[in-house]
């Protein structure tokens, strides 16, 4: 199996001097669904943003679909991202002045491409948003907004979808819908999904879990169950507290 995303020795130090990533090397095969977990502040969001080309790592290399993202300039990175990478933000980041449908097709329009109306309808219908197409985001619930964000990330049929706590703000039912959807994206459509979450139940939807602590990898788990994940997280807390 080829790797869709591979990260080579990623380092990220923010302006304030905080080291958020401290040499992370990992790869994500095509058609895999991976959860990334770890304590608050362990660098999960930073990892996702650097991997997706939303931010630049201080050191290291990022490859997506064989292309080195870190070797390109900002504009080229953005253009690459529009069609090859989907990103679902915890706080949605929908544009308030655009309707649901306009929000969903925005990345394609920015790429100068026409969106296939049938496909847009189909995705929105499947996400239960068929009758909210012309609504502004402010009139939607959190769960509905998150589904719009998922639809936006999926429309261009990207090689990989990153999701940063996509269920963080959702109730149980909406959360389950979004997770089931992400899983079907992987298992029925063969795409790759990498998702950050704090919830062991959500992580159990993935094929494997990657643990992060203090900006470094701290193990992984295949075929996770909620209990096993919770168990590992608890130990992760121990290990971080006690110097080796």
């Amino acid at each position: 199996m080829t790797d869709v995303v591979s990260l080579e020795a990623l380092y990220k130090t923010y302006d304030g001097g905080v080291t958020a990533l401290d040499g992370v090397t990992a790869s994500f095969p095509a058609g895999s669904f991976t959860a990334v977990m770890g304590p608050s502040g362990s660098g999960k969001s930073t990892l996702l943003q650097c991997a997706a080309g939303l931010d630049r790592p201080t050191g290291g290399r990022v490859f997506i679909d064989g292309a080195e993202l870190t070797a390109t300039k900002d504009t080229a990175m953005t253009k690459f991202r529009r069609t090859r990478v989907g990103f679902v933000f915890q706080d949605y980041n929908l544009l308030p002045s655009l309707t649901v449908e306009q929000n969903v097709v925005l990345p394609l329009r920015l790429a100068g491409r026409r969106a296939d109306r049938h496909r847009v309808r189909e995705i929105l219908d499947r996400l239960g948003l068929g009758d909210r197409r012309d609504e502004l985001p402010e009139r939607l619930s959190g769960g509905q907004r998150q589904r719009v964000a998922v639809a936006r990330a999926l429309l261009a049929q990207p090689a990989v979808v990153f999701a940063d706590e996509p269920t963080g703000a959702l109730d149980l039912r909406s959360a389950r819908e979004v997770l089931t959807l992400l899983r079907s994206v992987v298992h029925q459509h063969g795409r790759t999904v990498i998702m950050v979450t704090h919830d062991p139940v959500a992580a159990a939807y993935a094929d494997s879990v990657l643990f992060l602590a203090d900006g470094r990898l701290a193990g992984s788990l295949r075929a996770p169950t909620p209990d096993a994940v919770a168990e590992r997280l608890a130990h992760l807390g121990d290990r971080v507290g006690v110097p080796a």
Partner: protein, 432 residues
């Protein structure tokens, strides 16, 4: 809540720069003209009359424009803080508390601005007296005085304007349904100002016909009232222009679509419109006067008025230009988050800048056309009264220059602010 207000001023001074600047410049202008009245109180009869006329003509213009500028800047500044107010409300601030905070901030800024304006107003006042002395209107023995009238008018107008605007905006903000603005009231106000403008224009063309240079007073006023009336209609005018130019803007692809669907920047139209209207109206009026007066015997104060016209136009132009840049910078900086979200959705910096530039085109076209219409309220009746011909026998070059200044000011303020706002990674900007 007053404590919160003062802390806001200390910790987020950037949010108040626009309000402060317009209040400061406005207070300085008003103090300068009002100080002529202070000077007049100790002068001989002829000097006294000249000083009072200058103060009431020039000061009257400034008064209206300054009140309008202070009100609209303050309203814009308060509206941009919706999020902060929502946050404060969510932690338990009541409507009256929020109102006290907004009004407290406004009064503090107005007081500070007026105080800082005192030396500038004092200096400008001396320049005005000097000017009147040079043209022989005021006896050269008279010393310029900066006294109670200057201070009273400067502080009074700035404080009252800020207070009224703050109370009105605070009421609307503190009321829960923020979306519900009152277009009806605004439109009635616009209609009223346009009517006053039309009335002045009519008076100029009828009553003032044959009165020579004196027709300038009513003609000048006609244009200013009309410009303010049209400025109040900025949202409607901008919508109209957007609808007409929409197909052209759409040709630019995604940036064009974003420019058309984004939040309407009608607050930026106002200064462009005022600037174009007042500058064009006055320049052409003076042009008509110069041609009509050539070879005629003039009243002694004609040259005075000419100088005064250019001084007033100069001051008002500088004032409105600063207000324009001010408004655009405030409005654009406020969109940091919006820009970041667009970039996260896949827009390059170039595309966001393109969108801003296209919005700038819509704003400028609306403002320049509106200003042109407003200036006709001055130019047509004055031409009819002074030169016996409605359409002036003048080249459109002056209007071209005015329009070009408006374009350059708008474009450079918008694009530079957008550039600065787009600096750094979008992931950080979206959280700010």
């Amino acid at each position: 809540m007053i404590a919160v207000a003062l802390r806001n001023l200390r910790h987020r001074p950037g949010g108040f720069v626009a309000t402060f600047l317009s209040a400061f410049l406005g207070a300085a202008l008003i103090m300068a003209f009002a100080s002529l009245l202070d000077t007049a109180s100790g002068a001989d009869a002829a000097s006294n009359e000249s000083l009072v006329t200058t103060a009431s003509v020039g000061g009257g213009w400034c008064l209206v424009i300054v009140a309008f500028a202070v009100t609209s800047t303050l309203t814009l500044a308060v509206r941009q803080r919706d999020q902060q107010f929502a946050l404060l409300r969510s932690v338990g601030a009541t409507g009256p508390q929020l109102r006290r905070m907004i009004v407290g901030e406004a009064v503090a800024v107005a007081l500070l601005a007026s105080a800082v304006a005192v030396p500038v107003g004092w200096a400008l006042g001396r320049v005005l007296v000097d000017l009147l002395q040079n043209t022989g209107q005021v006896a050269s023995t008279i010393d310029p005085v900066f006294g109670p009238v200057a201070l009273g008018a400067g502080f009074g107008v700035t404080l009252t304007g800020s207070l009224v605007a703050a109370v009105a905006t605070a009421r609307r903000t503190a009321a829960r349904d923020r979306r519900r603005q009152r277009p009806l009231l605004r439109r009635i106000g616009a209609g009223l100002f346009l009517l006053i403008g039309a009335n002045c224009a009519l008076l100029t063309a009828t009553l003032m016909d044959g009165k020579g240079i004196d027709a300038m007073q009513t003609a000048g006023q006609a244009g200013i009232w009309a410009a303010i009336g049209l400025a109040l209609l900025a949202p409607e005018l901008l919508r109209l222009v957007t609808a007409v130019l929409g197909p052209v803007v759409r040709l630019f692809g995604a940036p064009g679509e974003l420019a058309l669907s984004g939040p309407r920047l009608s607050s930026a139209v106002m200064p462009v419109l005022l600037f174009t209207g007042i500058a064009t109206g006055t320049v052409y009026m003076q042009g008509i006067e110069d041609r009509a007066a050539a070879g005629q015997i003039q009243p002694a104060y004609a040259q005075d008025i000419q100088t005064l016209n250019y001084v007033v136009v100069g001051m008002v132009t500088v004032f409105v230009a600063i207000m324009l840049v001010n408004t655009l910078i405030a409005a654009t900086t406020h969109r940091r988050r919006e820009f970041a979200q667009q970039r996260l959705a896949g827009a390059t910096r170039g595309q966001v800048t393109g969108m801003v530039a296209l919005e700038g085109v819509l704003i400028t076209v609306t403002g320049v056309l509106g200003g042109l219409v407003a200036s006709l309220f001055t130019v047509l009746p004055f031409g009819s009264a002074r030169a016996g011909r409605v359409w002036p026998d003048a080249s459109p070059a002056a209007f071209g220059i005015v329009a070009a200044i408006a374009v350059v000011l708008t474009a450079s303020a918008l694009v530079q602010t957008a550039r600065r706002t787009l600096h750094g990674p979008a992931t950080a900007a979206v959280r700010a």
